[in-house]
């Protein structure tokens, strides 16, 4: 159903048989087992799973920070072997530089462009994330939510075609999280990057994703891929929402009725 809305979806990020085994004190620890997944261009996909199931590891492999033990990840048909600023990571912990001002952080990925270009782009993304007036501030002077906006702005400045987001709002309070989700959706609608978004929050996945990839506990496998075929803004009190949510909890092996 969801594919009927997009015209001829192009595969963007393709995982083929990705497995990852870490050595832990000499013992091999299988974290990911044969992951096959295709994410289309401009798609918003959430990776949902219990803590420790290998979501971050999978994202790190896709970002080029780690190599799979077996299998491969291809973006636009080319295998990923190293990070690139065409595909930007938004980290689980704060990845912005505390020693640089908001402006200097955001300009990082476009530092080779002309000063005029830098001004135009930084102004644009700072407005996009709602941080006007804080260009000269240092991260230590910002709230957690604002720091995460800086990180998002830094990522958007390079106009990446893929955004990897590893629990970007995990450290924030629930109100700020909700606001930032709305803003992320707005930005996604405006620019249509492909987004792989890791979370272990069922509601977050439901509010954001077009498709939710549910992982089983370690070694991480794909338990099921759930489509959320609801247009935005989504009615989070409705029957359809409730049904999908129940299904997700079931897949994660918990009931949400306490």
């Amino acid at each position: 159903m969801s594919s009927s809305k997009r015209k001829a979806p192009q595969p963007k990020v393709v995982f083929e048989g990705v497995s990852k085994t870490f050595k832990k004190k000499g013992e091999p620890l299988e974290v990911l087992s044969a992951i096959d997944l295709t994410v289309d261009e401009g798609e918003f996909v959430c990776l949902l799973g219990p803590s420790g199931c290998g979501k971050s590891t999978l994202l790190n492999i896709a970002g080029g920070f780690e190599r799979p033990t077996r299998g491969s990840v291809k973006i636009d048909g080319a295998e990923i072997v190293a990070p690139s600023s065409k595909r930007v990571f938004v980290f689980q912990e704060y990845g912005i530089f505390p020693w640089a001002s908001v402006w200097d952080n955001v300009v990082l990925g476009i530092r080779h462009k002309s000063k005029a270009e830098q001004h135009r782009i930084v102004g644009e993304v700072i407005e996009l994330v709602g941080l006007e007036g804080f260009e000269r501030a240092y991260p230590m002077e910002l709230s957690g939510g604002m720091k995460q906006r800086v990180e998002v702005a830094r990522a958007l400045a390079v106009e990446p075609d893929v955004l990897f987001m590893d629990e970007p709002f995990g450290a924030l309070d629930s109100l700020t999280r909700l606001t930032l989700r709305t803003e992320l959706l707005r930005i996604w609608n405006e620019r249509k990057p492909t987004i792989l978004f890791v979370t272990h929050d069922v509601d977050e996945a439901m509010q954001l994703a077009e498709r939710i990839v549910v992982f089983s506990a370690r070694p991480g496998r794909i338990a099921e891929i759930v489509s959320v075929d609801m247009p935005h803004p989504r009615d989070i009190g409705g029957v359809e929402y409730g049904n999908i949510k129940n299904r997700l909890y079931e897949l994660l092996g918990v009931t949400h009725m306490i």
Binding site: G63, S85, G95, P98, A100, Y138
Partner: protein, 274 residues
């Protein structure tokens, strides 16, 4: 005697009622009272023990005046500061770049860390004979000894700082294509800077301790030599104590100056979030 006892009682009284004072008043009143109390105790102890040699606070004040009036004091202060300044700058100039490289490159770390760790525990004082052998009695040996005593804290501190750079920051840099020299300038150095400044502060403290000892043993100018000279020339313990106090004051001043480095926006994060 009476004055001292009164001072002691007064400062005890002030300390006793301290909790009624505002935080702002406590800020200066408490340390002043403690200092006044200690000086009073010192004075009382001198009188009670009847020591002929050990100076009372007042003797020390006179000795201070004598030192300042005699032209040699400034020469000795300048000699000590000269050795510390050049030895310290030389150590920072070599130690920081070396620490950055050794901390960043695993191969260089493997090669150099054992020798650095092996030389580090040797007290700079133990180097004095060799320093004199190589540089003779004078500034050369002093600068060399201060270089040694600052070099290891600075190098090891910088190395540790670089090895502590968070993986997330390294990956951010990698993600945006920051490499080689730019990586040092944009990530490695700024990430390590707060800890580098802390190691500079430690090194300068050590340098100021070592220079006095070195001058007492193997030099013929400087504040350390002044202490030795005062004792040898007729047990002038009043001059000894006055010089000790001066050494302490200069040490505080040096620390105050180097702490100015901690207030810059680029490094402030390193002291508040830890």
């Amino acid at each position: 005697m009476i004055v001292s006892i009164l001072a002691l009682v007064a400062s005890a009284a002030v300390l006793f009622y301290a909790k009624r004072m505002s935080a702002h008043v406590q800020e200066w009143a408490l340390p002043v009272c403690v200092a006044a109390g200690l000086i009073a105790l010192w004075d009382i102890a001198c009188i009670v023990s009847g020591s002929e040699v050990f100076p009372s606070p007042l003797d020390t004040v006179y000795a201070f005046r004598e030192l300042i009036e005699s032209q040699r004091l400034w020469g000795d202060v300048a000699a000590s500061l000269f050795r510390v300044t050049w030895g310290f700058l030389l150590a920072a100039g070599i130690g920081i770049p070396l620490g950055l490289v050794v901390g960043w490159s695993t191969r260089t770390f493997r090669a150099l860390n054992p020798i650095i760790q092996g030389l580090r525990p040797i007290s700079p004082i133990a180097w004095i004979p060799i320093a004199i052998l190589w540089f003779g009695i004078g500034d050369g040996a002093g600068v060399f000894l201060i270089f040694l005593s600052s070099f290891f804290p600075i190098t090891v501190g910088t190395m540790a700082a670089v090895r502590n750079i968070s993986l997330v920051h390294q990956r951010s840099a990698l993600n945006f294509g920051v490499r080689r020299f730019e990586l040092f300038r944009r990530v490695v150095l700024p990430a390590a800077l707060p800890q580098i400044i802390t190691s500079l502060r430690i090194a300068l403290g050590v340098a100021w301790l070592v220079i006095v000892a070195a001058e007492m043993v193997g030099m013929d100018t400087g504040l350390g030599y002044l202490i030795n000279d005062a004792r040898n020339a007729g047990s002038r313990y009043d001059l000894v104590v006055a010089t000790m106090i001066l050494i302490g004051l200069i040490g505080i001043l040096l620390d105050f100056l180097i702490r100015r480095l901690e207030v810059f926006d680029e490094v402030r994060w390193g002291y508040t979030q830890r």
